[in-house]
Amino acid sequence: MSLKITSKVENQTALLSIAGEVDMCSSPEARKEIAALVKKEIPRIVIDLSGVGYMDSSGVATLIEGLQMCNKYDGKLVVAGLRDNVREVFELTKLDKIFEIYEDAEAALTE
């Protein structure tokens, strides 16, 4: 199952919107898109996950990788719009303490 991914960059902030199920099959697509933004050293990357109905540990690993790459150039990667089951994965893995999590993309963009 492929993901639907869109991205736009405005005022030094990137909004990457992901829709679909993020698993070992589809997470490389997300990884590629995040890596492209990181390569441009965009100061703030907002990942909108409101369209993600499922995420496994490979999806989580993709986000951790993005966060760590961002940290290397003092950038910031935040996530927004987590559905309950995706939020649960963050909580189970204690990543809710590592990532900045916003209610929705709008809140993350206006921060």
Partner: protein, 140 residues
Amino acid sequence: MTKTIELHLTSDPPLLSVMRAAVSKVCEIAGFDQMDTSKIILALDEACSNIIKHAYKGKTGQSIIITCRIKPSRLEFILEDEGEPADVKKIKSRPLHEVRPGGLGVYLITSVMDKVKYSDGTEVGNRLFMYKQRPKDAKK
């Protein structure tokens, strides 16, 4: 009375979504709510992903059999593959304080399910047994 469902799939990552849909229905029949169903699906998905990655080293077209047993008190799963046997002593998750990609699959499986047991000493393949207690108010 035990209700049994057997799922046969090959080690092709796109089939994981089919497995998830089937397990979702099994959980529904067993009386789990949406949140527990999501967690059980996650555990099964992680277990199948591990079979594909580690037992079959990413080789597609190989056998994975998932037996689901809805028992009066619990929902059991047995996952069997014919890949490289794992060294059970080496199966572990990374410490959560080490924030790095990977190593969370086993942690998620063990934190979601009530019991997880890997068979040891097999010459070919692996067998993973796990279960979760059914909700007390579930229709038996």
